[in-house]
């Protein structure tokens, strides 16, 4: 931390530079805090340290290659990102995806949602000063990543979804391993829940801290679990079902007060719902082809589409303009963290400096997606 003292005529303001290399900023994110004693008066977030120009790069890659770029947007929920892009291209091409491929996609995406929320759970514990939860969360997350490795060949940058389906058939022991994994993970979640949720110190740090009211949340463009924690039940999987999400029966956890604890607990609850979806998908899945009949080099017709999917962090939109060639004309990514993060500058005003970390952690940002 770098401290800057500016002396005004009547009061002394401290300007604190938090980040970009700060353990609680979840990546390279810098906050310029103007403080008066313990209170934050003014906030200036600085992003862009991770800006790689993904959108521009997409314009120079063929559609199949763009999937690898999408992997690197939200690097905690890679498969959800791939799904968003693949679905956008597919609906532009009006492709029918084989059922089996859709089921596999849904199973993997929900697993990835669990992994992503587990990461949130662990790091959020760390943010508020609890060392233990991160070990429990990573133990469970590790199992999911190992499972991904056995299917896609990679632990994070999978490049597994293709335009029209998926890359290869599942390994033989998929079903056994998955049901074992689900049992272990659901047990692990209960443990995580017991460990932290009702802890008095945790409650004191997070209850009634960083409240976003429903109307503010909508105004700031907040989405995903953060919006649901404020009491608005909006989930694209339900309100505008994509892929095959309309075939499952699951709930959308909604909280009411919009404080940090609600944002935390909504995510924990979402893990349980995801497990429910995966179980249903497993029982409904049948054998069949895994790739639609597509030419190897995809050429969507001229046109454009804005495709919304629900990533673990919120509304993930892909605005795709095609000019009929084998490369996209323009790709714009509506990154949920980007919109969620801009509410921070309003949220932090008037909060205590110790709560800055709590609030930032509860928004659950991934800088790879914010900066693109």
């Amino acid at each position: 931390m770098e401290i800057n003292k500016t002396i005004n005529s009547d009061n002394v303001d401290l300007m604190i530079n938090m980040g970009p290399q700060h353990p609680s900023t979840h990546g390279v994110f810098r906050l310029l805090l103007n403080i008066d004693g313990e209170r934050i008066i003014d906030v200036k977030p600085h992003i862009g340290y991770l800006h790689r120009g993904s959108e521009k790069l997409c314009e120079n890659e063929r559609y199949a290659q763009v999937v690898t770029l999408f992997d690197r947007l939200d690097y905690v929920a890679n498969l959800n990102m791939e799904l968003g892009f693949c679905l956008a291209v597919e609906s532009l091409m009006e492709l029918d995806i084989p059922d089996r491929a859709s089921y596999i996609r849904v199973i993997l995406c929900e697993l990835n949602r669990i992994a992503s929320h587990l990461l949130f759970y662990g790091t959020y514990g760390l943010d508020v000063g609890a060392m233990t939860p991160v070990l429990y969360a990573f133990r469970e997350r590790e199992k999911i990543q190992g499972f991904f490795e056995s299917i896609t060949g990679a632990r994070m940058m999978h490049n597994y979804f293709r335009i029209g389906g998926i890359k290869e058939e599942l390994p033989d022991d998929f079903n056994n391993r998955l049901s074992l994994l689900l049992d272990e993970v659901s047990q692990g979640i209960e443990e995580c829940d017991m460990l932290l949720s009702k802890n008095e110190m945790f409650l004191a740090r997070t209850k009634n801290v960083g409240i976003i009211s429903a109307s503010d949340a909508v105004d700031f463009g907040v989405s995903g679990p953060n919006l649901r924690a404020s009491g608005i039940a909006r989930d694209i999987r339900v309100s505008k079902p994509y892929s095959i999400y309309d075939r499952f029966d699951y709930g959308i956890p909604v909280a009411s007060s919009g404080d940090c604890w609600d944002r935390y607990y909504v995510r924990l609850e979402e893990i349980r719902q995801s497990i429910k979806i995966i179980k249903q998908a497993m029982s409904q899945m049948e054998d069949g082809p895994i790739l639609a009949k597509v030419r190897r080099i995809a050429r969507p017709p001229k046109g454009e589409i804005y495709f919304r999917t629900e990533s673990p962090r919120g509304d993930f939109g892909v605005y795709l303009v095609s000019d009929g060639s084998d490369k996209p004309y323009r790709v714009k990514v509506r990154a949920p963290s980007f919109a969620n993060l801009q509410s921070l500058q309003y949220l932090l005003k008037g909060a205590y400096i110790a709560d800055a970390v709590t609030i930032l952690g509860s928004i659950d940002i991934i800088m790879g997606e914010v900066d693109r």
Partner: protein
């Protein structure tokens, strides 16, 4: 107080479990990689005719999203001697593994079973371009991978280099 105690109870319970930690640098105590693990790409070796599978067709070079490969083909000397079915063979091949993003697209597009994602994932070097692997190094990676996993080509008839003897058929 109760929430605090339940938390402690969970921690206590874990004390009686077997540890799940793997010791990374210790080769025996690591987590094993899965069969499908995608490490750095490597070129496979055709033991039947003692030459690489790769014909230098450049498909992978064109499809690679990071443009980290170069390839050059030449006429196959073994073909003119009648020992191989491959007319052309790879002459120079280079992958800058420092730039490779391990996406596996090259493996997917190769029609000759010539490139595979090996299980190698530890290639730290002291110089920035120390991971520019040439043909020999890539083949070495591939041979190691082949012997470790008992690799077989996916389309053995089509891609085998063993020349078809027309005389025998007649």
């Amino acid at each position: 107080m109760i929430g605090f105690l339940t938390g402690l109870f969970v921690t206590m319970k874990t004390g009686f479990r077997r540890p799940v930690t793997a010791q990374y640098p210790d080769p025996e105590k690591r987590i094993k990689v899965e069969n499908r693990f995608m490490g750095f790409p490597s070129l496979t070796w055709d033991y039947d005719v003692e030459e690489p599978y790769c014909t230098g067709c450049m498909v992978c070079v064109r499809e690679c999203p990071t443009e980290c490969m170069t390839a050059k083909m030449k006429d196959n000397p073994l073909f003119s001697e009648g020992k191989s079915r491959r007319k052309k063979i790879i002459d120079e091949f280079e992958i800058n593994l420092g730039r490779c993003i391990l996406c596996g697209i090259c493996v997917e597009v190769c029609n000759f079973d010539a490139i595979e994602m090996s299980h190698e994932h530890e290639l730290s070097k002291r110089v920035r371009n120390g991971n520019r692997f040439g043909l020999q190094q890539l083949l070495k990676l591939g041979i190691k991978f082949q012997s470790n996993t008992n690799w077989q080509p996916k389309q053995p008839e089509k891609n085998s280099g063993v020349p078809v003897k027309k005389v025998d058929e007649e």
